[in-house]
Symmetry: C2
Subunit: 426 residues, 2 copies
């Protein structure tokens, strides 16, 4: 079907996805894993044909004057292909999340009641640029027994179409429906508008991309969205703390990488430790060229550090995700003030307390309203692979359904199962 | 604040709810249970003052010409008060869902990663008629550490205001914020429009009422909705079955009560059992005056049953929730046909297979895409109390977040906790 009439085309795609979802929900673990391994093999054998399609996108991107880092993100180099092929095999090796039955308990009436994990049905993935997301999304859909509808970036259409053909061949080889993974074959933006507003065909939307894209989709979607907005993460150095640990962990949380969403953007220090801790971390930041945007008390201490770039913070700084060599720093008088600051200015992503005080650690864990809360660890650990999820669908900054790093379970739901021997309701 | 400027009023309510939610999330189990017991006592002691407010609503309802069954639903009789007071004490006696930490595992990096159950934050409850829902919603909010904003029916406003005063007194007596439970003090419909479109203040909406209300709210809400639409439930009698059990369970599923959402509306019978089973269940239905809307094969058999009201089913019958003395009946040739029929025409609420065949039972559990799937039990068991949840927020026909009967856990979310000893990311 050629995608000229967008509503008709999307309805056609939706109907096919629903039908495929029914078959995928009933698919055996062996068949799903066979498809994933066939896909890995297909990717490794695709070679020149895949490169030729990818080259079309690369040429078009360069002709359109895209900056080389952006062109780079489109590239399906042999090492990128090797990585995604290995990813398929890793997902094949994971336990099947589907069919798990938990918590079965006998009730006084005689029935046994428990829950069974089943696929959500159909998910839509909307992403930009990198074509390898096509394979990641497809492999997550296959393993979790869902069908998916993919909408990649227009600049990667040739690459995505070529990858999709490999996915469909792998599905068919394993006896699974080719429509379990569909790619929207048009770059018409109206297709996205339909994709996010077809609750009869699509159960959840997962956008991957910039904050603008995700906000727009969240605002317009008629189905649930697993959305990842910004990560304005904090590290709080408590009154009682191992100072060496605090310096090491704070340094890592800010400077190990500047661009990830789980890097610390705000540092809070208890007044009782400010004089001892701030000069030490200030020297580290000065050496690495990290600009410090400070409240007056922090500024007074840090201004004395040799080579430190210290400026006064504005109100806007407390709410800013820099993703850069910048950190906001504030001295607080209590744990309460730290928690209140984080809950007010943070983005409910990831926040850590560094402390030796157990009650304070427990209060921080309980009262900081974030997807990940940590004690004596770097915020950089907030990641599906570091958490042992094996695969990461995305990171959710919502509280509903899935929160924080989302693994395959985020694409499943628990239904109730009742096992009886002829019981009736009195 | 008097509710004349609705957007300003609702923003005021929202800000107060968010502030109260923070305090409720940190509230001790003892304080929450004390509030619930104080509320039970307050209800029992309210007596004449509460009756006087309730009488205003009853008089107005009668003056407006409401039918007596509708007036009855508004009545806060001593027995209704006794029941809701007892409900508060039952919820006080339940384990606190908040603060539970599960699945903590040590990772190769040295960090320990698990999940902690925390409140969702603020929920909005929109309901009609029965004022006792005010107390049910308030007690669920208190126990789950959430704040809530209640919008009851305009015909129950005086009763709801009086009940709300008791709730607030109980909260204050237990040292909890009065704003943890707020009631919208205007009957202006614009307030509902705001309530369901304030994601900054409200995390989830729970509507209780007719299908029209729930569809309208779901279509317009800008926040997640725990919604309960229709219950078109099925009982399928398989080829291998204990006929006595099948007659008993099918009878109970249809006739124990006709109005609940978990009553069976459609009966499917394997062709191999139709001649043996249908005359027996047909005689039961005939004796109870249940009309049978049949496909041709079922009609041919059932027409021979003395006193049976048998008519030909139309396509619309397969998709209809009767909530009445009517059942649709179809003979199918296979388990596959039964599953396909249920997934196509059912409402994904509750469906049961009656069988002695284990593989068929397991396939039915896995492949029927409904919130509750049962083997050899009456569909009437699909209920939060029968499932042992202790309290029922509602029944969800969605797959996202919570599915089927929803207990207190439906008002919570799991956040990640990371316990370290100074680990950093490499």
């Amino acid at each position: 079907m050629t995608p000229t009439d967008i509503p008709a085309y999307m309805a056609h795609v939706g109907v096919a996805a629903r039908a495929a979802a029914t078959a995928m929900a009933a698919a055996s673990t062996a068949a799903k894993n066979a498809a994933l391994r066939a896909l890995a093999q297909g990717l490794r054998e695709a070679g020149p044909a895949l490169q030729a399609e990818n080259a079309k996108d690369l040429d078009a991107a360069r002709a359109a004057g895209l900056a080389e880092p952006m062109v780079d993100r489109l590239k399906l180099s042999p090492s990128v292909i090797a990585t995604v092929a290995e990813g398929c095999e890793q997902i094949a090796a994971m336990p099947d999340p589907i069919g798990e039955i938990t918590g079965v308990k006998r009730r006084p009436t005689g029935i046994s009641v428990g829950q069974m994990r089943v696929p959500l049905g159909v998910f839509g993935m909307i992403y930009e640029s990198r074509p390898n997301v096509t394979i990641e999304a497809a492999s997550l859909a296959i393993k979790s027994g869902n069908a998916c509808i993919l909408r990649g970036g227009s600049e990667a259409l040739h690459s995505n179409l070529a990858l999709w053909k490999l996915v469909q061949a792998a599905l068919v080889q394993a006896g699974l429906p080719a429509d379990a993974v569909q790619l929207i074959e048009t770059t018409d933006r109206a297709a996205v508008g339909r994709l996010i507003a077809m609750p009869e065909y699509v159960d959840v939307i997962i956008p991957r991309g910039g904050k603008g894209l995700i906000e727009r989709i969240s605002a317009e979607a008629r189905v649930p969205v697993i959305k990842h907005l910004d990560g304005n993460c904090h590290t709080y150095v408590d009154a009682q703390v191992d100072l060496d640990l605090a310096v090491t962990v704070t340094d890592n949380a800010k400077t190990q990488k500047y661009s990830p969403c789980n890097a610390t953007e705000g540092l809070l220090v208890h007044a009782g430790q400010a004089a001892a801790f701030l000069p030490r971390i200030g020297a580290v930041f000065a050496a690495k060229g990290v600009e410090m945007r400070c409240d007056p008390r922090a500024q007074a201490i840090l201004s004395g550090v040799a080579g430190a770039q210290v400026v006064a913070a504005t109100e806007a700084d407390w709410a800013t995700e820099y993703l850069d060599k910048i950190i906001s720093i504030k001295v607080v008088d209590s744990l309460d003030e730290a928690i209140a600051h984080i809950n007010r200015y943070g983005s409910h992503h990831t926040d850590a307390i560094l402390t030796t005080n157990h009650p304070n650690a427990m209060r921080f864990l309980r009262e900081v309203d974030s997807a990940s809360v940590m004690v004596n660890a770097s915020t950089r650990f907030a990641d599906g692979f570091e958490y042992g999820l094996g695969a990461e669908i995305g990171i959710s900054t919502d509280k509903f359904h899935a929160r924080g790093p989302v693994g395959l379970e985020g694409l499943t739901s628990m239904k109730w199962v009742v096992l009886g021997q002829g019981e009736i309701r009195q």
